[in-house]
């Protein structure tokens, strides 16, 4: 493993000047757009729109030539890190390589140019994809049925919580509390609040797992359910998951699986067999649909048999005739999406699942877990593991000791790593770990790249220890399009549009 790994520090850039805004490049009267020759009567706007509705002045948009439009946005892409450029070990985000053949599927006109209100006879191919995807997701999670409507993980969480409410309401019970561990993702408590539930937080024990004793104390007849990620956000498998689920079920609650970390367990263990009742998946993590700089994603939610009747509708189904149609479950919680979910994202996930298959998915998890454990062991003595036991698909390290010794903070490690050709890991999460570095290499990074990442992380720590200070790292990054960004200034003096700029703001 001595071959050079996939550092992105070789990426060529033309310099570190700022890119002007598209509004700065605008010249009144310049035009890129052109339209079909219509042959229609050339009625004026005054003929078409009554005066009381009509704008007196057009909205000002940038006026640029197509050549300049291309140059501007291409230069912006040269100021942007991406999975295609290099390793992206953001813990909890599963930034694996996104296969190009899945993108190609999503650009086929037979999928991309279909109107969502088309009658079922015209969309049999689409419905078959969605039904097969639902079946595959159920096979992976050990569930009975799934909705594909939620547009992202957080929407999936809210869906799951609404399903819990519908289930308890249907049983004539009014339950008001949801239990979440103190290691949970921020979307969990935010979704719980939006669903109209109160939150009870359960602690983490000395092994980094849910504190079962504490859980039993806080359970009661008013608990609607518990949300849990497994492996949890410390990258650790909840060893007592069967006991946790049994305790929640005994109290009449439901178990919700946050699928953010599903990449660790494909074909190894299914959430259904762990005792979960509701599962959301982030297809933009586990099933490699590209994240688009922040979205789109898709957050399908799968449920046990007894919850199927509450799923959102209308949902694609296989009809007795062998063709495909829509059906709304008897006690459906309603509609969660204007149409059928983020269909082109779901198509990519379907393609990814076919390309990997049962054998490939198991290998995905095998190697994701292997890479994370190798990295954790390789960095032993450099950074401290938050909990020193075998991890699953990611490891949480702490820079706390280094920070005390040299002043090197997790943030400095992150920024210095950018200079060395890697995206930073997730930092300061989970909240219960001081100076946390949450690193998820994923299975698509070669042993050489993981080794190079480890080397870079070691180099950063060694530099600080040798100097007895973190001065060098605190000046990082110096090779990126901009240096450290003044976030406080952005919040204090808000400029969120070009029109809010003024001379003072630029000074």
């Amino acid at each position: 493993m001595s071959a050079p790994g996939g550092r992105a520090a070789s990426a060529p850039l033309m310099g570190r000047a700022a890119e002007p805004s598209l509004f700065d490049l605008s010249e009144p009267g310049r035009l890129s757009a052109s339209f079909r020759t219509s042959g229609l009567p050339e009625w004026s706007l005054a003929d078409l729109v009554p005066e009381e509705f009509r704008a007196t002045e057009p909205v000002q948009l940038p006026e640029v030539a197509e050549r300049d439009l291309v140059a501007h946005f291409t230069r912006l892409t040269h100021r942007q890190y991406s999975v295609d450029l290099g390793s992206y070990p953001l813990g909890s985000c599963t930034m694996k390589y996104n296969p190009k053949s899945c993108d190609a599927a999503a650009s086929m006109p037979g999928f991309a140019d279909v109107h969502p209100a088309s009658p079922p006879s015209m969309i049999q191919g689409w419905l078959e994809v969605l039904v097969e995807l639902e079946e595959a997701l159920c096979a992976i999670t050990g569930m009975a049925a799934a909705t594909l409507q939620p547009a992202a993980g957080a929407a999936g969480e809210l869906t799951g919580l609404m399903l819990m409410r519908a289930y308890h309401d249907h049983g004539g019970e009014r339950r008001t509390r949801i239990i979440i561990p103190d290691t949970s993702h921020g979307t969990n408590p935010a979704s719980v609040a939006l669903a109209g539930y109160e939150i009870t937080t359960v602690g983490t024990n000395e092994r980094g797992s849910v504190d079962l004793r504490h859980l039993r104390e806080v359970l009661g007849p008013d608990v609607a359910g518990m949300m849990l990620t497994n492996p949890n956000t410390l990258g650790l498998f909840e060893e007592e998951i069967v006991e946790v689920a049994a305790a929640v079920h005994d109290a009449g609650g439901l178990m919700y699986y946050d699928g953010a970390n599903l990449n660790a367990i494909l074909g190894v263990v299914r959430p259904g067999d762990m005792g979960f009742d509701i599962v959301h998946m982030n297809v933009h993590k586990t099933f490699a649909t590209p994240h688009g700089g922040g979205g789109p994603g898709a957050g399908p939610v799968a449920v046990r048999e007894g919850l199927k009747e509450f799923l959102p509708g209308p949902r694609p189904v296989r009809l007795l005739s062998g063709s495909f149609g829509f059906e709304t479950p008897a006690h459906s919680i309603g509609r969660l999406h204007s149409w059928h979910g983020n269909a082109l994202v779901l198509l990519r996930a379907w393609a990814y699942l076919r390309l990997n298959g049962a054998d490939g998915l198991r290998s995905v998890s095998d190697v994701a877990v292997l890479n994370a454990n190798w990295l954790k062991e390789r960095l032993r003595g450099v950074y401290d593991a938050a909990y020193d036991r075998p991890v699953m698909h990611e490891c949480v390290l702490s820079a706390e000791a280094l920070q005390k010794e040299t002043g090197l903070r997790a943030l400095d490690v992150a920024k210095r790593l950018l200079e060395l050709g890697f995206h930073a890991p997730t930092v300061y999460f989970p909240l219960i770990v001081h100076e946390a570095l949450m690193i998820e290499p994923t299975e698509t990074e070669s042993p050489q790249t993981v080794a190079a990442l480890a080397e870079a992380l070691e180099q950063i720590a060694n530099e600080a220890r040798a100097a007895g200070s973190a001065t060098d790292a605190k000046a990082a990054p110096r090779t990126t399009p901009v240096g450290r960004v003044d976030e406080a200034r952005a919040a204090r003096h808000l400029i969120a549009t070009y029109d809010q700029r003024d001379d003072g703001a630029q000074g």
Partner: protein
């Protein structure tokens, strides 16, 4: 390795396991209780080659009917067949935009951040408000967030929602209203536009949000000032659902008194895509920015004093504020927002006016031609822009089925959300700047046969 995207050789796996003191991959999972482990692997077929995948995709795609030359699109209802030029498809599919994550490290995410800043500026201008966020999932999700923001700001939980709002969005609002405990009061339409003087509107108390759409679901232009007066009378915030294409020629909702403007941005460069991923547009007043849902990009400086962009006012967001966050949104639709910025850059000031004007010309020509047919009547007489509702002698779904055989997607049936109203069963037809006189003439000729 059996996984096509795992680079490790068997020898490398052996070496890495050796480093960990393990002798098999299974041992990596020894912490998982034996009783719950999956014996025998997943119940799925083994992996396919890329070529096999492509063959299957082609079969499935052939079982769909996309719009195009062989199926000319006259359907809208929230999803429109507007021009998407090659330059937009090309730039928006660049892998730096497609395969980036959320810009948590601004120093290496200036590309996405600056594109979003430009997008925010364009959406703020189109809505006539000061602040636009970096996108939400789609128009319906933006409506739900807008209503949540309005009721939180106003401190009242009743929502007065016009029946002119897309019925599927209204259903979604209903679904999401249970958690925050909102009461949705529906305000009926009269002659295609909202009747603010109706009993439902008059009887409502403790109203936090008034919601109106323009053009509305039936294509009719609404009097936003009347909605503003209703909101003022009730002490509520005014949420306007707008259309970014219509914004090319209509007065901005902000200038007419909207507090929050939401909309569907699919028309700005995103293909029909069987309904998603689309783009949720969201704008509000500067005074309300601390309640804004979703991400917001701001301009600032780097350590060397150069302009730089960064996600800002982050303390509103779920990963920091957790249960006190203004919204649970994390992933959004950044790629569609970047696409919209490119599309609007391609259109420019006059291009957007052209799209709206040409769409309106096609609608007027098509509507007048159809109304000249025997038995075809207007379902709503208020002024329209690029979409309109008709009553047909035969049931609208039969007309749609017959028109499919003639190579037209004739529109959508107005039903869900309108049952029991005068509009139920009417046919909703939309035209964009892509419809030509030849297409419309053929459409009308086929329609004449299909309705009898």
């Amino acid at each position: 390795m059996n996984a096509p995207f795992v680079p490790h050789t068997d020898a490398e796996i052996g070496e890495m396991l050796g480093f960990l003191g393990l002798s098999s991959l299974d041992e990596l999972f020894s912490v998982i209780p034996e009783a719950i482990r999956l014996a025998g692997g997943l119940d799925l077929p083994d992996h396919w080659s890329e070529a096999d995948l492509r063959d299957r995709l082609e079969e499935l795609a052939a079982a769909n009917m996309p719009v195009g030359r062989h199926l000319v699109c006259f359907a809208g209802a929230g999803a429109y067949d507007h021009e998407i030029p090659a330059v937009v498809r090309s730039l928006a599919s660049r892998s730096e935009f497609v395969t980036a994550y959320t810009p948590y490290q601004p120093e290496v995410a200036q590309g996405v951040l600056q594109a979003l800043f430009e997008y925010q500026t364009m959406i703020a201008r189109l809505t006539g408000l000061e602040i636009a966020n970096a996108s939400l999932y789609d128009g319906a999700a933006a409506l739900v967030e807008g209503v949540n923001m309005a009721v939180a700001a106003a401190g009242h939980s009743t929502v007065l929602c016009s029946d002119g709002v897309n019925p599927r969005w209204r259903r979604q609002l209903q679904t999401f209203s249970k958690g925050p405990g909102l009461e949705i009061v529906h305000v009926p339409l009269a002659d295609g536009v909202t009747d603010w003087g109706s009993g439902a509107a008059a009887a409502a108390g403790r109203v936090g949000a008034v919601v109106v759409a323009t053009p509305n679901f039936l294509g009719c232009l609404e009097d936003i000032s009347a909605a503003r007066r209703t909101a003022d009378r009730l002490g509520a915030r005014l949420v306007v659902v707008f259309d970014p294409v219509a914004a090319g020629v209509l007065k901005t909702p902000g200038s007419l008194g909207a507090d929050i403007v939401v909309g569907e941005g699919q028309a700005l460069g995103t293909p029909l895509s069987f309904g998603g991923p689309y783009l949720g547009l969201f704008a509000c007043r500067l005074a309300d920015v601390r309640r804004l849902p979703g991400r917001l990009v701001g301009e600032t400086l780097d350590v060397e004093g150069r302009p730089a962009y960064v996600s800002t006012l982050r303390t509103r967001e779920q990963d920091i504020r957790r249960e006190r966050a203004t919204s649970n949104v994390c992933s959004n639709q950044t790629l569609m927002a970047v696409t919209a910025a490119i599309q609007l850059g391609w259109l420019g000031t006059t291009g957007l006016v052209e799209v709206a004007t040409r769409s309106a010309r096609a609608a007027r020509y098509c509507r007048e031609s159809l109304l000249a047919l025997d038995g075809v009547e207007s379902a709503a007489d208020a002024p329209v822009l690029r979409e309109f509702a008709l009553r047909t002698p035969l049931q609208a779904d039969t007309v749609i089925d017959r028109m499919l055989e003639e190579g037209f997607l004739a529109g959508t049936v107005v039903e869900e959300g309108f049952i029991g109203t005068h509009y139920a069963g009417s046919l909703l037809v939309a035209t964009t700047e892509r419809r030509t006189r030849t297409e419309i003439d053929s459409f009308v000729a086929a329609f004449d046969k299909a309705v009898r």
